[in-house]
Every structure is written in C-alpha cells, then in structure tokens.
Amino acid sequence: MTFWKLFARNRGAVVGLGILVLIAVMAATASLFFPADPFSLAGKPMSPPGENGFLLGSDSLGRDVAAGIAHGAKTSLLIGLLATLVAVGIGIVMGALAGYYGGPIDNLLMRVTEMFQTIPSFIFAILLVAIMKPSIESIVIAIAVVSWPAVARLVRGEFLSLRNREFVQACHTLGMSDVRIMLGEILPNCLSPVIVIGSLMVATAILIESGLAFLGLGDPNIMSWGFQIGAGRTLLRSAWWVCTFPGIAILLTVLAINLVGEGINDALNPRLRERT
C-alpha cells in the first residue's frame, strides 16, 4: 500500500493534516488578508471580538489580534521547523557517529548526550536565550540545543541495530567507505522514526517558544504567537481574547502536528499497521 493510503487510514491524521495545511495557507497569505504591519495600531484598544472591525478583537494598544495570528503563524511555524531541522541535524550526526563506530566514540558522544539530557532543559534554553539576547535566531538555537539529544539517542539506536544488518556488511565486503555506508545505506533506513520524532518536535518547539515568550524572552520585533501571548497574558482577566486566540492557534497547531505525526508513525511503522 502506498504511504498516502496508509496515512489516510488514520482519520485523525487527515484532520490534522487539513488543519496544518490551513495554517500554512494562512501563514502564506497573511499579507494578502492583513496587508498592514501586524504591529500597527489599527484601532480602538481592547475591542472585543467582532467589534470595531476586529474579527478577533484588539489588544491593549489596538493591534489586530487576527492579523497577529495570521502573521505570527509564519514565525511560529518557522521557529518550529528550523529548530527541529537543526536539532535533527545535530542529532543525526551525533547519533550516527556514536551508533556506527561504537566503542570509545560512542562512549564519548553518549556521555555528551547524557550531559545535555541531565541539564534541566527549559532552564538551559532560557540561559541560552539570555546569553544570546532574545531574537528568533537565539530562540531557534536554544530550542535545538535542548532538543537534539532525543534524536541522537534514537538515531544511535537505529544505527546500532542497522550497522550489523547483512546489507551493511555486504557493503563492507565491497569495500565501501564509512561515510557512504552511513549516509547512503543506513541513514535512509532510519529516517522513518526520525521523521516521526521530528514532527512531534516541531510541536514541542512551538510550545517552548510560547513558554519563553511567557517569561518575557521573545523577540520584540517579530510577530509570533508567543509574542502575542506574552503581550496578552496580563490581560487574560480583562480582555480574554488577546491571549486566548493565539493560545488556541498554538493548541490547534500542536494538535494538528501531533495527529499528523501519529499518522506518519502508523503509516511508516509496519508493526502497527496490522492493528489499526
């Protein structure tokens, strides 16, 4: 069965993908529907949803919450994707080297991984952002730095089991180089679980960004959902819409990504195919 057929068997995953596509479309067309700068003071501050021409209300400065969500989608998705890409990149390199070579290299790299897992990750992320100054780049780097160990462990496990597979040994007997074996032979075979864990990591990254923003560690120049929540959190009791709608946006996105991740997992994981 093709991947898509398997994927489509999970109804939740299809719904999730639908939501995700909608969000992506929203991010891509934000400038069409909300041509103005999302930071611009568009009207009466603290207008409830539906009033004064604000679909989802306005915040304490009179900025359009809906415009913020549309423009922020781009940033939040970007942060999620970039952080995940970087984390997966580091994780694959570390995990591949450790799993493939084993022995002292494995030992060393796994100690390093363990070290990063032993540091309380959220505090470490805060520390990195504080040192690098809050900006999109520093947030991406910080999230990636605290996320890669999980990928590294996963990839290492896959490499450990795959490196003794007969098809890899066959490559050895052909005299193939290590790099080529790692990249050309083993890596493609362990991508499925990496894709699954990566998809969930995107969701986690978006959550971490909102958490950092809550603590005041967002980039003040770029509209993101985390920024909106940070800006609206003290208004939660007086103007619930300012913080709630971006919160719902995060919830929906994270939910959708998780559903899609599960769908990918079901489709890629042959063991589970039989049971759903």
Binding site: F39, S40, S60, G62, P220, N221, T234, L235, S238
Partner: protein, 531 residues
C-alpha cells in the same frame, strides 16, 4: 522665603501634624499578608535603595523623621530639630526610651554612627544626601548635632526610614558593613521585629511589643509574600490571600478592574517622596540623537496620553517639563515648556526634522535606531512597541531591544552601547537628589547606574545646577530651576514622557496603611485589619 523662614515653616508644620487623628476605631491584632515583589536581595536598607527592600526594611528600621502625605515632617526617632541661623548646624533632639529589638537602648551615638560611618560611606544616595555633613556631635545620649559645610535644606527631606535608616552601632561597629549579618536578619527600632525569611516564599515580621509608641503597632504580624506572576498576584488579592500590593504589584489593568469591585480599593497616595518619571534617555554622542532636533522630534511624535491611557490604564500625568509637576508645591516647577505635547504633534516633529535637513529616503526612512527597553516588566515592552509605531510616522525606523537586567545595565551605563533607551527615574523630593544626576557633566560616571548616560554636557547648565543645590532662597532657587527647565526643553538630552503614578491596591479591610508620604515604604505602625 529665606532659609530661616523655611525652617520655621517646617517647625510649624511639625506641630500641626504631630498627632494624626485616627479616622475610625482601630482593632488590634491580626496578620497582614502583603505582596513584596520581587523578592528583595537582602534587607540591608543601609546598603541598598532597592525597591523591595523598601517594602520590608522600614517596618524594622526607623529614620529620624517620617513625612506625611503633604511631605510635611513627622517626628520619628527625632522628636524635634533646630536649624542654626547660618543653616550650618542642625540639632536633633532624640526620643527617649527607645530600644533596639535586641533590648539595647537607642542613643545619639547610633545616629552619629549611622550617618557618618554607614550612610555616608556605603549607602547609594547617602553620600549625596549628607554630603555637606562634616561631623556629628553627641553632647548627650539624646542630642545629635549635625555640622554642615554649607546649608543643605534638602537633607531634612532625606531622613525617612527608607532613605536614611538608623542602624544599631553596637551590632555594626567594627564589622564589614557590606557583609553584615544584619542584611538577612535585621535589628532595628521599628514597630515590627524580623522573625523569619523563607527564601522564595515570604518574610515574616512580628509585632515589637516594646515599641515606643504605646499601643502600636496594631497588627500582630506582617508577612511579605513573593509571588512572581502578576496575574497570580491579582488572583491572590481577589482571593483574600494577600491584602496589600504596592508599586504596581497588581498590574494597572487588574487594578482598574479591582477598583470597580466591592471590597477593594486603589490609591495613588504614598508615592509623593519618590516622584517617578518615565523618560527616554538619548545617546547624545552619536547619530541620530546627537542632533537636538531629532531628540525633540521624538518627544513631539510620542502621544503621552496614549501611553498613559492604553498602557498604564489612565494612571499617570503627561510630563510637561524636565521637572515633575509635583515640584510645583515647592515652586520649582515651571509651566509652559515647549516640546512636551500631551498628544503627538507629528507635523511639528516632521517640520523639525525637515528644518534640520534630515530627509526621508526612498522608503520614507529618515533615521534608524535601536530602542532599548528597561527590563522591568511588560508595560515597558508595550511602550516600546507603541513608540516603534509612533516614530515610524515621522520616518524614524526602530529596532526594539529587550535584554535582561545585567545586560541592559551594562549596555546603558558601562558600555554606552545604545541609541536611546526607555527608562524611569525617581525624581525624589528635591531636584538635587533625583534630577541632577541626569544632566550634570560631573554625573557622566561610566559604570555607575542611573546617572547621566546621555553624556550630555553643558557648562551653562552645570553652573545652574551647582547654584541650585546651594541656593537657600526659594524664589532665587525657583528662578534657577526655571532656566534649567528651559535649557533642557530645548536640548532635550532626556525626553520626559509622563509622571508615573504607582498604584497601591488593597483590601478594604485594611485600614490606615497610607498614613505617610512613604506609603508602602512606610512603617505600617498604624495599619490595622478589620476582623
């Protein structure tokens, strides 16, 4: 008014306010849980004027004086004082029968030690407040004579427990002041005794049974709680878990809501001694703000009322001069200064820029700059975001920068690596104490915080400031500061935005907590809770 008359008026006021009348029958007993935010680094009010210390330490330590809401002197550890005719000797008569919390008697030796060895040496503002004090004589246990090099009328306004706490000589003498045990377990003469400090949770103070004011304090216990999240502080207030929160502990938006809720009140009383002013510091040494026209354009482009209405929810007053309008009471404030519009004057700002030859490029951008924001809370971020929009209107493109406290302090005051910076300063009870530090050439002190980071230097102004500090005659002094304000309105090294009004939110069951000018920095000796 010459100095003598000024002193006599003060004495006179003394008599009028010596016995405040209770507005309602007090009930003794009970505990007051109030918000202390953030958690203070220590309780050494003789070392630091950090805000949260002020919320706790003045309950334990006392000053020579207290001040009522009209800034009039109220006797505390000093029962009365007398200023000599030349203004160079001030004699304090100290209260008898006062003891430290450990039982030792309070004497003039403690006063001399506190001022000469502690406040003048290690207190951040002490060297300034007491700079004219050359020595203190203690003819007997209850008399302290301050010998001054020059008259220093402002000194009498800096004798509160928050500004100048009296500390126990017998516990501090010969110790390393900066490393004293008193920092974490203070011993004072005040109405409450220090009992316990649970880091991250609360500071507990119990009633001082041996307090010199009979029957006071009314409360059995004070507990200062630390609650990091603003929304939770509001919730705790609503739930009755805390009854008092000052210095914006409850965000203005919530304060406005609680104001309209039964059982809670909001007051702006209790901040008249600190006189906070929100402002923008410009780096006058590099483009674009080395040009006064650009600085003035910024001041013109900002809608001060918008800031107050939408970010501080109506609390605050547009700034109209380099001095706070609160100085009108002592005649130093000058009305009608230009360049401080209530509402944005975009056209005026653009005209200024055009006249200065700063023209827009193809994208309409005349200048670019990075705006640093004081990292003391969300409101300032909102203010920055507003300014970014407002200044875009006049073609100044802004990048916002929000860093943590140490990074920001170092950038602004040590490295001078900034374009302009949103900040707020306490103008305090006299310009000498709170305003001079912005503008004087001698206040360009690299590495010292909250001084002249604009590096604005104007000999003419320096001379005026020096004269103003020593001028005893109120009329002449008003004239001097009038000129100061005119110069600053034109040069605008600092653009004052608005006079801040800090809010105190309290549960209506709590009575008589704002009896002094010090407000939350006061002693709470007369506060009581309706059971």
């Amino acid at each position: 008014m010459n100095f003598r008359i000024w002193a006599a008026a003060a004495l006179c006021a003394f008599g009028l306010t010596a016995v405040p009348a209770p507005s309602q029958a007090q009930e003794a007993g009970g505990t007051l849980v109030y918000i202390v935010q953030p958690e203070p680094p220590s309780l050494a009010s003789f070392l630091s004027t950090s805000g949260p210390i002020g919320l706790v330490a003045p309950k334990i330590y006392e000053g020579l004086f207290d001040y009522d809401n009209d800034l009039k002197i109220v006797p505390a550890l000093a029962e009365s004082y007398e200023v000599s005719a030349d203004g160079k000797t001030v004699t304090f008569t100290l209260r008898q029968g006062v003891t430290w919390h450990d039982g030792a008697p309070f004497t003039s030796a403690d006063v001399a030690f506190s001022v000469m060895e502690v406040l003048k040496q290690v207190h951040p503002r002490g060297p300034n407040s007491f700079r004219e004090v050359t020595s203190i004589d203690t003819p007997d246990e209850h008399t302290a004579v301050f010998n001054l090099a020059n008259p220093a009328p402002y000194m009498l306004r800096a004798l509160s427990s928050y500004e100048s706490p009296m500390v126990p000589k017998h516990l501090l003498e010969g110790t390393d002041l900066r490393n004293s045990d008193l920092a974490t377990s203070p011993v004072g003469t005040g109405p409450y005794k220090f009992v316990e400090w649970k880091k991250g949770q609360y500071i507990r103070l119990d009633k001082n049974e041996a307090y010199w004011q009979d029957g006071m304090p009314y409360l059995d216990r004070l507990v200062g709680r630390f609650i990091p999240d603003a929304s939770t502080r509001t919730a705790a207030m609503e739930n009755g878990e805390v009854m008092y929160g000052a210095y914006g502990a409850i965000p203005n938006i919530d304060a406005v809501r609680l104001r309209d809720t039964d059982g809670f009140s909001v007051t702006t009383d209790g901040y008249s001694m600190i006189n906070p002013m929100a402002l923008i510091e410009f780096n006058t040494t590099k483009p674009p703000f080395d040009n006064p026209a650009v600085r003035k354009a910024v001041s013109l482009a900002i809608d001060r009322e918008f800031l107050i209405e939408n970010i501080w929810f109506g609390y605050g007053k547009p700034a109209t001069s380099a001095l706070s309008s609160n100085f009108a009471a002592v005649g130093l404030y000058k009305e009608g200064m230009p360049n401080y519009p209530k509402n944005a004057d975009v056209a005026g700002a653009i005209a200024l820029l055009d006249a200065a030859g700063i023209m827009p490029d193809a994208n309409g951008v005349r200048a670019t700059a990075t705006l640093d924001l004081i990292p003391y809370g969300e409101d300032w971020r909102r203010a920055g975001e507003y300014m970014k929009q407002a200044l875009a209107e006049i073609g100044i493109a802004i990048e916002l920068r929000y860093e943590d406290v140490p990074t920001w302090l170092k950038r602004i005051y040590a490295d001078y690596d900034f374009d302009f910076n949103v900040n707020y300063f306490y103008q305090l009870s006299d310009p000498v104490l709170g305003v001079h530090r912005h503008y004087g050439t001698d206040q360009i002190r690299q590495g010292t915080h909250f001084v002249n980071s604009s590096r604005y230097s104007n000999p003419e102004l320096d001379a005026l400031l020096a004269a103003g500090a020593q001028e005893a005659d109120a009329t002449k002094r008003a004239e001097i500061y009038g000129q100061v304000q005119e110069i600053l309105a034109e040069d605008m090294p600092v653009a004052n935005l608005f006079e801040m009004q800090f809010l105190t939110v309290y549960n209506d069951k709590l009575k008589e907590h704002a009896t002094s000018a010090m407000g939350a920095y006061g002693s709470f000796d007369r506060a009581w809770v309706e059971q």
